[in-house]
């Protein structure tokens, strides 16, 4: 029956050839036909040109433009009242810039891969959220962001000027503007957010939490006496342990906010070190291990498929957690939890007071235009409107007044009576517009306000010696991928503190050895070389 097999192999070959030929044709056809289909009148490029030619008039004249629909991808779940809010918002947008907005929400746990697949497929969407702590670096290196160097200032003048040219330039990549930076907190000093009522009961005052050890001891004490309490000292969000390890030190990741890439600066000295090899990192593993074996860490965290494991507003058992400083939510949280457990109250302390953290003053989050966007000009106009038009911004971020939020003054909001975050429309400001433009909850406590003031005041941070430096990964691309694989495999386990201390030791040694084998030293050397070169200039 060899013959039959041979025949089928031949057939396969024929089919593949036919397929390639056919799909080639198909691809070309589709490419040729798609722009007219998407925009019947002027083609995509001429649309951009129209905008360019209108430059001198600044305010784009409303009548001339055709109506377009813009598609935005955001991580998360679709908020309540989405359709109603979008209807209202789109009426306003149609009137101002002849555009409507359509948002697709992708669950957090699949956002990164969905973005990659959609970009790879060249799917039609206009803009999306990304950040260094997501996969902005990969997206940039694969050409997944539209170069808007020539479009930005023309189409979104208010936003451009508001961000300032200097800030936009700081966030360039290879000399070009890709994502639009969203300024938020300058850096994230670690904070302990905890149940103040419980702390008081055990004789703790805020000034007694100075180090991560203080926090752990407090947790041991509470959990030791009251078995129903949960310490939850896991770092639920990327970066906590990275920061914890270097608590009280000036630290800078290269590229900034890329916690997974080895190679960082300490104390603002231009010497690249492998953070995973340091004593500090080791000490935080021991710290986590102590917490794990002492019952402070949820042992199922390794099993969890959940990206959001605790519901901050329904979880009355957890006594606190180390993480990013609160951005105005303490009041709401106190209100929600005290409904379940009367007397509950939340408070926070910044664990890094006294250290001026180093900052390159770069953004961590970006609004990115997709290379497949047919209307980059209109996307920029939309972002400009969200930046400059308070009414549109409020609708985009907080929904319909009265139904989704109640405005309190110019820069605060509260939820309508009896409702909470999960029941109303809300979009995250940090995916689209600067923080100073957003409202904060009217229930924000003094601690909240102090912390917001602290993390946005440049005086609390030291400018990095390598501010303006950007790392070009091309020379060590393959090493970065290999090291990345090792890091994803080990980091979560190591930092969860799982296992006996002997297990931890051997696992840690294994981790370092594998990093070496994957070429970590080459990456460090390359980073050092580029930084040296940068500093020479």
């Amino acid at each position: 029956m060899k013959k039959v097999f041979f025949k089928s192999a031949l057939l396969l070959l024929a089919v593949i050839l036919a397929t390639v030929g056919c799909s080639n044709g198909k691809g070309n056809n589709a490419d040729r036909s798609s722009p007219p289909a998407a925009s019947p009148e002027p083609s995509a490029t001429s649309g951009a040109n129209t905008a360019v030619s209108e430059d001198n008039s600044k305010e784009p004249s409303p009548q001339k433009q055709e109506q377009v629909s813009l598609k935005l991808l955001l991580p998360g779940d679709k908020p309540q009242h989405y359709d109603e809010v979008m209807k209202v918002l789109n009426e306003k947008l149609t009137e101002k810039i002849q555009a409507t907005l359509d948002i697709q929400y992708i669950p957090w746990d699949s956002y990164k891969d969905q973005i990659l697949v959609k970009l790879a497929a060249g799917e039609n969407f206009d803009f999306y959220y990304d950040g260094w702590w997501q996969n902005y670096a990969q997206v940039l290196s694969k050409g997944g962001a539209l170069d808007i160097s020539d479009l930005f200032e023309k189409n979104a003048p208010d936003l451009y000027n508001g961000l300032t040219a200097a800030y936009v330039d700081t966030n360039r990549y290879n000399g070009k503007i890709y994502g639009i930076p969203v300024p938020g907190p300058l850096e994230y000093p670690m904070a302990y957010i905890y149940r103040a009522d419980i702390a008081e009961k055990y004789g703790y005052t805020p000034d007694m939490f100075k180090t991560k050890e203080d926090v752990q001891n407090f947790a041991f004490k509470v959990v030791g006496e009251d078995k129903s309490r949960i310490a939850k000292l896991n770092g639920e969000f990327t970066g906590n342990y990275q920061a914890l390890a270097f608590l009280g030190m000036q630290r800078e990741y290269i590229p900034s906010n890329d916690f997974n890439s080895p190679g960082m600066l300490l104390n603002n000295e231009p010497k690249v070190i492998n953070q995973f090899e340091t004593d500090y990192y080791k000490s935080v593993l021991t710290y986590a291990n102590k917490g794990y074996n002492g019952g402070l860490i949820d042992k199922d965290s390794l099993f969890s498929k959940s990206t959001v494991t605790t519901d901050a507003n329904t979880d009355a058992k957890t006594i606190g957690g180390i993480g990013n400083p609160s951005e105005g939510s303490l009041g709401d949280r106190t209100a929600a939890i005290s409904k379940i457990e009367p007397g509950a109250r939340f408070e926070q302390v910044l664990l890094e007071q006294g250290t001026k953290m180093v900052s390159s003053f770069k953004a961590g989050n970006f609004t990115v235009l997709s290379p497949s966007s047919n209307h980059p000009d209109r996307v920029l106009m939309l972002l400009n409107l969200i930046y400059a038009d308070k009414d549109i911004r409020d609708t985009y971020l907080y929904g319909i007044e009265g139904q989704d939020f109640v405005a309190v003054g110019d820069n605060q909001y509260k939820y309508p009576d009896g409702l909470d975050r999960t029941k109303v429309f809300q979009n995250e400001w940090w995916m689209v517009t600067p923080w100073k433009n957003a409202r904060i909850p009217a229930t924000a406590t003094d601690t909240d306000k102090a912390s917001i003031a602290y993390i946005t005041d440049t005086n609390n941070f030291v400018k990095s010696v390598i501010a303006g430096f950007e790392f070009n990964p091309d020379a060590v691309k393959s090493e970065i991928s290999k090291v990345g694989a090792v890091v994803t495999e080990y980091r979560k386990v190591l930092e969860s503190g799982a296992g006996t201390s002997a297990q931890l030791e051997s696992r840690y040694a294994e981790f370092l050895a594998k990093l070496k084998k994957a070429g970590v030293d080459k990456i460090i050397a390359e980073k050092q070389r580029q930084i040296d070169e940068f500093l020479k200039k």
Binding site: M1, V4, F5, S8, V15, I16, T19, V20, C22, S23, N24, G27, K112, D113, L116, V117, L119, A120, G122, N135, Q138, V139, K142, G143, G144, D298, K299, D300, L302, F303, K305, P371, S478, S481, K482, G484, A485, T488, E489, Y490, R491, K492, V493, A498, G499, Q503, K514, K517, A518
Partner: protein
């Protein structure tokens, strides 16, 4: 066949044959569209994919994507895990199915046999997402049934999520739980299909029930076992993505024993977005799989002394 008869056959068959092809057409088209068209994606394995260029516009990369994978320490591990886990599944799966089928055949009460079969078959119908939830109720460190039992009898709790060594065993148990019923049905059918005259003859010769099983039943099962084994060997380079991704997820601690080619490919895509490399691994897997099928068929040919293997 002389020319005359051949002409007649052709005449009588052709109109009918047309109908046959017409009937097959939708299915053939389906495979052409959903399987063969995407196959041109293999060229991605030789490209340095970027989003702006897409499939046809991205620059060629030669064998770079393969080099990355073949120099990676992961290659050995994921290939080993894929083969090892599949080997365990095949061996234990076949054993469990054959043994339960033989034993169930001994149960004379039709109602009981039917009830047992219903129970054993049922897990086959549960989605892996639900199975992963089931597994969590057993293995959870604090709340899981197994650890509740262990601590109730005074033993140390086991942190399953942190013990890669026992995961092949866990996966085998889950696999057996979910798919023994399927194999059972097939083998049971093979057993009931055996000509009763064989037993009759054996009984006349004075063979005990046990001897009948050894001498008649098992040899009669051999072809079925072989067919299924060979089909399984043909797919031995394919890890069960649905199963392993649902049960292990992103727990890096367990990768040493559970990471298979399919989960690795998916993870490379989501963590590095490296489509070229992902395609290269996919191609490697397809080629190895193809080799295995040819090999398996060749073996089946040798074993059965026939001209035709199981597959072609």
């Amino acid at each position: 066949m002389n020319a005359k008869t051949r002409a007649r056959t052709a005449k009588s068959l052709l109109p009918g044959q047309g109908t046959l092809y017409l009937m097959a057409l939708p299915g053939i088209l389906f495979f052409f569209i959903f399987s063969y068209l995407p196959m041109f994606g293999v060229i991605l394995a030789f490209k340095n994919y970027n989003f702006a260029g897409g499939i046809f516009g991205s620059p060629w990369a030669g064998f770079d994507n393969f080099e990355f994978f073949f120099t990676s320490p992961d290659l050995y591990r994921i290939t080993f895990n894929t083969l090892f886990l599949n080997f365990l599944f095949i061996v234990f799966g076949t054993l469990a199915a054959v043994v339960t089928a033989v034993l169930l055949n001994e149960i004379r009460s039709k109602v009981s046999a039917r009830i047992f079969q219903t129970f054993i078959f049922f897990p086959y119908f549960i989605s892996w997402i639900v199975v992963s939830l089931f597994l969590g109720t057993f293995l959870s460190s604090e709340r899981g049934i197994i650890n509740q039992l262990l601590s109730a009898i005074g033993l140390d709790r086991v942190e399953f999520m942190n013990s890669p060594g026992i995961w092949p065993a866990i996966l085998v148990v889950v696999y057996l739980w979910k798919s023994t019923g399927y194999g059972l049905v097939i083998y049971l059918a093979a057993i009931t299909g055996i000509n009763p005259e064989y037993y009759e003859a054996a009984r006349i010769d004075g063979a005990s029930r046990f001897q009948q099983i050894i001498r008649i039943l098992l040899p009669q099962l051999r072809p079925t076992v072989l067919i299924l084994l060979i089909l399984a060997v043909g797919r031995i380079f394919y890890g069960d993505f649905g199963m392993i991704y649902a049960l292990v997820g992103d727990n890096g601690q367990l990768y040493t024993t559970t990471d298979v080619i399919d989960t690795y490919v998916f993870r490379s895509l989501r963590t590095y977005g490296d489509i070229g490399m992902t395609s290269a691994v996919g191609l490697y897997q397809s080629l190895m799989g193809f080799l295995m099928v040819v090999l398996a068929n060749w073996i089946s040919k040798k074993l059965s002394d026939e001209k035709k293997g199981v597959l072609y």
